[in-house]
């Protein structure tokens, strides 16, 4: 057991207490709390960066594994959390409940995500996921006086609990099949023997539980409501972090454990992917609330991720890694603009965005680029991600799925452009200039830079991802029954 390996998680879990305590003790002023939170993240980042590459390994009797793949995503989680903290800073005067608790919950959720990134055991996965969702349940309902926030929290909790129920029941069935919840032993059992129906059912239950996390059709219905009702920083965290955690869990399970059963889940995932893409992008068209619209859009993006997952190839996993990175940058840009703008423009209704370009060219420009990147337009980040995913899909021979995916690009462009249209062609109700805080401004500039860099210079990042998954067992095609006869 090497404690070095869980350094990042350790820092983050310490910081849950630090932020809570700092708030109670009123050490920094309320409006300085975000600096404390950022300090914790920086510490965690430093620890992550200092983890020597050769220290990779497994801990807690193989329950927790630190590998390149996990480290890559841990880095992304820290970035997400940092941006969410910047958002929270913008948002804090709209949060009536104590801020310290909010940051604490943010850190517990982050901890859950970090755990999930390194998970090697179904039970740990369950606990990690629950840690994320519980924090998010509470954060969703954090605007206590806003009925919509409370309603969103309620819905999220109920559907989330159902998903947890299915997940844990599935874990139970898988445990029954292999006698262990440990990934390697499960994998061994799968490779070596006949897989009973009960284990297959368990697998699909787990799939459903994770489908809830990543907002795949038909486990997605909570998404728009929660996105609309929850505080915007939470929505950002939810849409990027929570989804990413779900995807990582899926990768770990599908590729680390169930890859030999590719034939079992490939088509299922492909169908789910198609349904998810179509549903998300279609339903977004008629929306009038920007957060709700982004909720549907995030469903659409889940569809793309599923497409890459269903390919069953290392290219698919690389594509997932790249896509998530691109999605992270673009989506956080969009949400940061929403947070920064919503206070002045009054609400999340699309009409409030009329003429934004005249009120704040910077915000409008960032939102423009973020939305176009989400749509997948070159030379922005989203394009590269989508292209990799479509390529992975095509390489897996799923041309019908690629077709649907490609057509969805055009479909999604429509509703993203509807927002652009309002910003650039609409006339503002109130032509006053929107002022943007320097911190937000700097973050936006960094994110937009990221959008461009990811859209143009794909190779360094792609290589990073490829080397991160290089040493995974799933990239070594070594299964005995995978050999051609």
């Amino acid at each position: 057991m090497t404690w070095k390996l869980i350094g990042v998680e350790f820092v983050v879990s310490v910081w849950t207490i630090v932020t809570l305590g700092a708030d109670i003790l009123n050490l920094p002023r309320r409006n300085r709390l975000w600096l404390l939170a950022l300090a914790g993240l920086s510490l965690a980042a430093i620890v992550l960066a200092l983890q020597p590459p050769e220290s990779l390994g497994e801990s807690f009797q193989d329950m927790f594994v630190v590998d390149g793949f996990g480290r890559y995503f841990k880095g992304l989680f820290l970035v997400i959390a940092a941006v969410v903290i910047v958002m929270t800073r913008e948002f804090e005067d709209r949060l009536s409940a104590p801020l310290g608790a909010f940051y604490m919950l943010l850190f517990t959720a982050l901890l859950g995500m970090l755990i999930v990134a390194s998970v090697n055991d179904l039970l740990l996965l369950f606990v990690g996921l629950e840690l994320i969702t519980f924090s998010l349940y509470i954060m969703t309902a954090y605007l206590k006086t806003d009925p919509r926030s409370v309603e969103a929290g309620m819905k999220y909790l109920i559907i989330g609990s159902i998903a947890s129920g299915f997940l844990i029941y599935g874990v139970a069935l898988l445990y029954g099949f292999s006698g262990s919840t440990h990934f390697p032993s499960l994998h061994k059992a799968i490779v070596s023997g006949v897989i009973p129906l009960s284990a297959q059912a368990g697998f699909f239950f787990v799939l459903a539980g994770l489908g809830f996390k990543i907002a795949a059709v038909p486990f997605h219905l909570w998404v728009p409501d929660v996105y609309e009702g929850a505080p915007t920083p939470v929505v950002a965290f939810l849409s990027v972090g929570s989804k990413m955690a779900g995807i990582i869990a899926l990768v770990r399970i599908l590729y680390g454990v169930f890859l030999p059963l590719h034939g079992l889940w490939m088509d299922t995932l492909a169908i789910l992917s198609a349904a998810t893409m179509l549903y998300g992008n279609l339903a977004a068209i008629v929306q009038t609330n920007i957060k709700r619209l982004l909720g549907y859009s995030s469903i659409g993006h889940a569809g793309y991720l599923l497409m890459a997952l269903s390919s069953g190839s290392s290219l698919g996993v690389s594509a997932v890694g790249y896509y998530l990175l691109a999605y992270l940058v673009s989506n956080l840009t969009v949400f940061l603009v929403i947070v920064a703008a919503s206070k002045t423009i009054g609400g999340d209704h699309l009409e409030a965005y009329n003429g934004l370009s005249k009120r704040s060219p910077a915000l409008a420009g960032a939102l423009f680029l973020g939305l176009l990147s989400l749509a997948g337009v070159p030379p922005l980040a989203g394009f590269s991600g989508k292209l990799l995913i479509l390529l992975a899909g095509a390489q897996a021979g799923q041309l019908w799925l690629v077709t649907i995916g490609a057509l969805n690009v055009a479909l999604s462009l429509y509703y993203y452009l509807m927002i652009v249209k309002r910003m650039y062609l609409g006339t503002p109700i109130n032509p006053s200039v929107i002022r943007v805080h320097p911190v937000t401004h700097t973050t936006l500039i960094l994110l937009v830079l990221g959008i461009f860099v990811l859209g143009i210079f794909q190779n360094p990042f792609l290589q990073q991802i490829q080397s991160a998954i290089e040493n995974q067992q799933w990239t070594r095609p070594q299964f005995p029954n995978a050999e051609p006869p």
């Binding site: 329950m63 104590p98 604490m104 517990t108 055991d121 519980f134 509470i138 009960s198």
Partner: protein
Amino acid sequence: MGELLLFYLIAALMVAAALSVVGSRLPIYSVLSLLVVMGCQAVFFVMLHAYFVAAIQLLLYAGAVLVLFLFVIMLLQLSPEAVAYPRLLSRPAIGITAAFGLFLILRTVFFRSLAQEPPLADLSRPHSTVEAIAHALMTKYLLPFELTSLLILAALIGAVTLAKQQASDSRLKR
């Protein structure tokens, strides 16, 4: 043979109680029926040689969770739900059908995979002693164990923050 008989008896009681949880109009009955379910489950745990877990089940579930439920039900003074018989193609009807379908599928799945299930192992050595469990929790399962503590902490702080009255909020706000 006696064991089998006991099993069927407890199983019948458990299913009946569960039905009552799902179906009774008065919330308080549901909670109390759940208590029965918990009890039956504890019996099953004992039958499966999981003595410590059985105790935890009774203590934690029956002792803490259900009390909490009762407390909230009292607090909110719930009225009995209006009886509405599910009509054909209404959501409850479809729900019941789907749930029954789920049961049937699971049943079929279990029967079909009967041959591949592990047989109940011979428990010659006592394996589920408190000590063994404690050891496992403190070694192999230390990480999830610590995480659950954070989970509980988060849930508690969250619940407190959420459920607190507005007046107290203003005091916290600085």
